[in-house]
């Protein structure tokens, strides 16, 4: 599903590599935490999968795509197979919950009748049925992140990338979001989550890939945070 082979990434404006000789293999339907302190390269890892960045060295494969070699016009195809969530939700403040989720389908040309059918389904899945007409500012942080997850998942991507999705949430709300990500994972969707939230990693007992200064220093099938220290 996801494979990185000896990937290094050096940003033009930086001397130290953001990732150095990283090799990771993630199978279909896996749930993987990418952990490490701030600046260790977690976000870079995820951006390489999305072709937001290209590796300086090494190869990146996502499902059938050779990501680094993908011609620009085919990048949208790759991204349609990936859902994304971020710490800051990135909702459109002038659109309702329904419109925010529908937006993801509209801009890839899905027909109106499909949108009318699948958006309510996914809102129910994330536990937001009944809040379709709210504006984002009328929702709590946890609810806003649910909208973002709904938007990421509405096109039924093969994998979901989450970059510190609980970074702005209190522990209880974070737990709810984790339950939701688990539920999405159980539908067969591969989930990759970057975080430095120790308690979440510890409570989930899932595969952990730990980065430090851009290197993989640990890859545990059922890890806890901080085990390697």
């Amino acid at each position: 599903m996801i494979r990185l082979e000896n990937v290094s990434k050096v940003y033009k404006t930086s001397t130290r590599p953001a990732l150095e000789n990283v090799s990771v293999d993630v199978g279909k339907g896996e749930f993987v935490f990418v952990i490490g302190p701030s600046g260790s390269g977690k976000s870079t890892f995820l951006r390489l999968l999305l072709r937001e960045e290209v590796p300086s060295r090494g190869k990146v494969f996502v499902s059938n795509f050779d990501v680094a070699k993908l011609p620009r016009r085919r990048v949208p195809r790759l991204r349609q197979t990936i859902g994304c969530v971020f710490q800051d939700f990135r909702l459109l403040t002038n659109k309702t919950v329904f419109e925010n989720v529908a937006f993801a389908l509209e801009v890839i040309g899905k027909p109106a009748h499909t949108i009318r059918k699948v958006v309510p389904e996914v809102l129910e899945l994330v536990g937001l049925d009944g809040k379709a007409d709210r504006m984002p500012r009328e929702l709590s942080g946890g609810e806003q992140q649910r909208v973002a997850i709904a938007r990421a998942f509405v096109n039924r991507p093969l994998m979901l990338l989450a970059d510190e999705p609980t970074g702005n949430l209190d522990p209880d709300t974070s737990q709810d979001i984790m339950l939701l990500l688990e539920r999405i994972n159980r539908t067969g969707t591969t989930v990759l989550m970057a975080t430095h939230d120790q308690s979440i990693v510890d409570s989930m007992r899932r595969r952990v890939v730990e980065l430090d200064f851009g290197r993989v220093i640990r890859d545990d099938a059922r890890g806890v945070y901080g085990y390697g220290h």
Partner: protein
């Protein structure tokens, strides 16, 4: 692509930055009006030239002596002057006009100006040979040498007047073209600026579009259409401005001019100039839009 989606994106985009949009539309409109006036003058040059050249005659005025004595150009030197002119291959016809006939022509030309009529008498107007040419542009060459001939007092070459008139029209045309070019450049920069601002205010949307895998068409078409819609509105304003100028002016000003310069009518404006203006506006706005998007908006 879903039309309703694109439409709503474009209309919110235009409304989001009303001042900018209005500035851009007005600049486009004014530059297009100037461009349109330039095109009208180009046409006016042609029409005026045709009009004058059709009626162009070279008048070879004869001395007082001939005017008084020789009323039908049978004596010398009038007869040989006439004959020599007729022998020139570039000359079409030569008509002798004696003082009485000349006075009639004068009365007709100034029938609305009684003071002029009072001043003139048949004796004051000389007889002339009215020369029509096969090709009016050659008037200068034909009459060359005749001004020194005996019996000739003055040669009035109508071609020179037309040349001077056409020259001043050309200056007018060049001035409007340069003016419209400068304004068009301003409009161009405003379009580019509008797109950049629009892209900035919409960066979250565009960011999400890119992440969920929208193609370049989807991310960039709204911007392009925004520029084109604004350009089209500018063109429509310019066209209605030109047409209403044309309809409203003739009551006073243009009637005076009509005797000297032939201007194209509203039909020409509506069916020749308008499409050119509209096309120019669309072409420029889409081109600038495309280039700006390439340079400033990451896909």
């Amino acid at each position: 692509m879903r039309a309703s989606f694109v439409f709503s994106e474009v209309s919110t985009g235009l409304r989001r930055n009303v001042t900018m949009t209005v500035a851009m539309i007005l600049t486009t409109a004014i530059s297009l009006i100037m461009f349109g006036v330039g095109l009208m003058v180009v046409k006016a040059v042609d029409l005026t030239k045709d009009n004058y050249l059709d009626e162009l005659e070279v008048a070879v005025f004869l001395t007082d002596e001939i005017s008084k004595k020789d009323t039908n150009c049978t004596a010398q030197p009038c007869a040989s002057l006439k004959q020599d002119l007729e022998l020139n291959p570039a000359v079409d016809t030569v008509v002798f006009r004696n003082q009485t006939e000349a006075y009639e022509v004068f009365k007709k030309a100034f029938k609305n100006e009684p003071t002029m009529l009072e001043l003139a008498s048949p004796q004051a107007i000389p007889a002339s040979l009215q020369v029509r040419l096969k090709s009016p542009e050659q008037s200068g060459a034909v009459v060359k040498g005749f001004s020194e001939r005996q019996g000739v007092s003055l040669i009035h070459d109508g071609g020179e007047t037309v040349d001077r008139l056409v020259d001043s029209l050309r200056v007018l045309r060049n001035v409007t073209f340069v003016g419209s070019l400068v304004l068009l450049l301003a409009a161009l920069l405003l379009i580019a600026n509008m797109i950049q601002i629009s892209a900035y205010t919409r960066r979250t949307e565009v960011g999400i579009m890119r992440l969920v895998g929208a193609t370049r068409w989807y991310t960039q078409l709204p911007f392009l259409l925004e520029a084109m819609v604004a350009g089209a509105i500018g063109a429509v304003l310019a066209i209605s401005g030109l047409l209403s100028m044309q309809v409203l002016l003739p009551s006073g000003f243009a009637n005076q001019l009509e005797n000297v310069v032939r201007f194209p009518g509203t039909f020409y404006t509506a069916f020749v100039i308008s499409p050119i203006l509209l096309l120019t506006a669309m072409l420029i706005s889409s081109l600038v839009g495309y280039v700006t998007l390439r340079l400033y908006v990451r896909h």
